[in-house]
Symmetry: C2
Subunit: 343 residues, 2 copies
């Protein structure tokens, strides 16, 4: 593979001139530049990133860390690819590359900072961590490692993050359900410590806040916990709901779409009228919510934008003396048969 020296020789100049041409500096005679450019083309010269990066201390590469566990979830696949897409878009815009880490695991003590410490990347994006280990956070702070966290809000002021307005969306869910004439509101969330999710928590908090504001009778609200976030749990929950008798909720906020889809499946078989008997809304706006009939209403996450903005925050964080920043993006209500657009 050709180096600057080879190009220099062919063009009859010194290698430093080649460097100047490659970097677009203007102190090169037009004629020389043309000669060098031709040699570059002929030899298919590409600047060696290693030499350049070693010299400048910049790699032109971001690292993306995401725990393996998250990917095995069907949901994880969906949202991960969407976020990645946004990250890549920003990388393309700024001519950066992206290393997808193959090591991150939340439980095992894999070194999620390795890519940075090895100078393989200039900064790190964390996706889908329920929580980042305390000693990692500490290292990040002490060594000023540029990091951005997506979809969580680490309790550490030196780390930037991008998240969505889950509180506001939970609130909006209740508003829409009440506007649709529902007044017995139930929340379906999961209750597994290791799957604890700040976002789901926030949705619940927002919904409850709105109920409080409305001064709704406490007996007209309920919180149901399920063991998992899958379809099967949603189906099972339907039967629980069905057996609640007259006081059962006529409006439901599901912690995510999969639960709601499972619920729908069971409800249809049981002949439930939707949304007359019960109206509900999920979260994430997964494609399969559109496949099931009746179609699921849901709150769409701006996954792509989250990724894109995260990289921008990372860029800012890499400026000298830049402060970490925090960004919350809105969720978008997507009407469906289970909760139509308000009139």
């Amino acid at each position: 593979m050709a180096t600057q020296k080879d190009v220099a020789q062919r063009a009859g100049v010194s290698f430093i001139t080649v460097s100047r041409v490659v970097n677009g500096l203007d102190n090169v005679k037009e004629e020389t530049r043309l000669r060098v450019e031709e040699a570059i083309r002929e030899l298919r010269y590409h600047p060696n990133h290693l030499g350049r990066a070693l010299n400048q201390g910049k790699t032109g590469t971001w690292g993306v860390e995401t725990p393996i566990s998250i990917r095995s979830h069907f949901w994880g696949e969906q949202y991960l690819i969407a976020i990645l897409d946004g990250i890549e878009r920003r990388c393309r815009d700024t001519h950066q590359d992206l290393i997808l880490s193959t090591e991150a695991s939340e439980n095992q003590s894999s070194d999620v900072l390795r890519l940075y410490r090895q100078k393989k990347v200039d900064g790190l994006v964390f996706i889908g961590f329920q929580r980042i280990a305390a000693h990692v956070i500490e290292e990040i702070r002490e060594d000023h490692i540029p990091c951005v966290v997506i979809a969580e809000r680490p309790d550490e002021p030196s780390v930037s993050w991008v998240d969505t307005q889950n509180f506001e969306a939970g609130l909006e869910a209740v508003v829409r359900l009440t506007q649709a004439g529902k007044n017995k509101i139930g929340f379906v969330v999961h209750d597994q410590a290791e799957l604890y999710n700040f976002n789901v928590d926030q949705r619940l908090a927002g919904g409850l806040a709105e109920l409080n504001r409305l001064g709704a009778d406490k007996s007209l609200r309920s919180i149901f916990t399920v063991n998992d976030l899958g379809e099967a749990e949603g189906e099972a929950f339907f039967y629980r709901w069905q057996n609640l008798g007259r006081n059962r909720p006529d409006g439901l906020v599901f912690g995510n779409d999969l639960l709601a889809i499972g619920f729908t499946r069971a409800a249809i078989e049981a002949g439930t009228n939707i949304p007359q008997d019960v109206a509900y809304v999920g979260f994430d706006a997964l494609p399969q919510g559109r496949w099931v009939r009746p179609q699921l209403a849901s709150f769409a996450q701006p996954f792509g934008q989250m990724g894109y903005e995260a990289v921008k925050l990372l860029e800012q964080r890499c400026q000298k003396q830049a402060e970490p920043r925090f960004l919350t993006l809105p969720l978008t209500f997507q009407p469906g048969d289970t909760l139509p657009q308000s009139p």
Copy 2:
């Protein structure tokens, strides 16, 4: 960030000794080694990848190129993430990293070899290219760039590839349909030049081969072409099929799952008996094939394995004087209501 020099100073040795410890060479006194190791820990020293790679001409990184277009397809997302998962697994096993390219585009003249030419990676994996541009292939051959192609078979002996046995699966599809008592077999493929897909072509070829072997009456086979690979096309095809009258196929092989899922949706609404009136099978075994009722029979692709094996081929290709290799992995029939397991 600490360098070998810093560690050396702290441990009271020369930096070369640090290098030896880091690389696990044995010509270091036990006592010195321990001192160095402690200094490494204290300073959180990690070897700088840039220095090391520059020196050794090895980056310890693979590049993955996949055209942006493919990702926007729903199918693309699914299979891409599954293949990536296999690639990552292999990378983890071998302590390599992975750059996901943000540039590859099949049509535009983006430089898909850039990562290699810049020495950012040691070799490239191509996923989901319908066909790699001729000039790219040429460069790969001339400069001996280590490459592996997944899910296509480039017509160039210097490029390794991993693909699946689509011909055999197409054949198996016909065998299973005939075993199920069907004898009027139809194939549903797409007919768009820019979406030409070698794999779909092979499935058709395999099916036809089996029909020939059976000596089936030519009038009992048909090939239908559709414009796209989506659900909508599948629905539309159902009505085409329904209007074919008495001679319509009672066994169908769909080019992919989405077509079959669309077909199912329309068939159910029309009250078609499945698999009595018509049995059929798709390809790819997408999760949503399991969601629809009746459940779709399909051929599952070993996506993860494809990714894993591709990286292994790439490793081999990077050995001195290694020949390119080719690998075809079997598809696995996954029974469903639309074509149950043979008795």
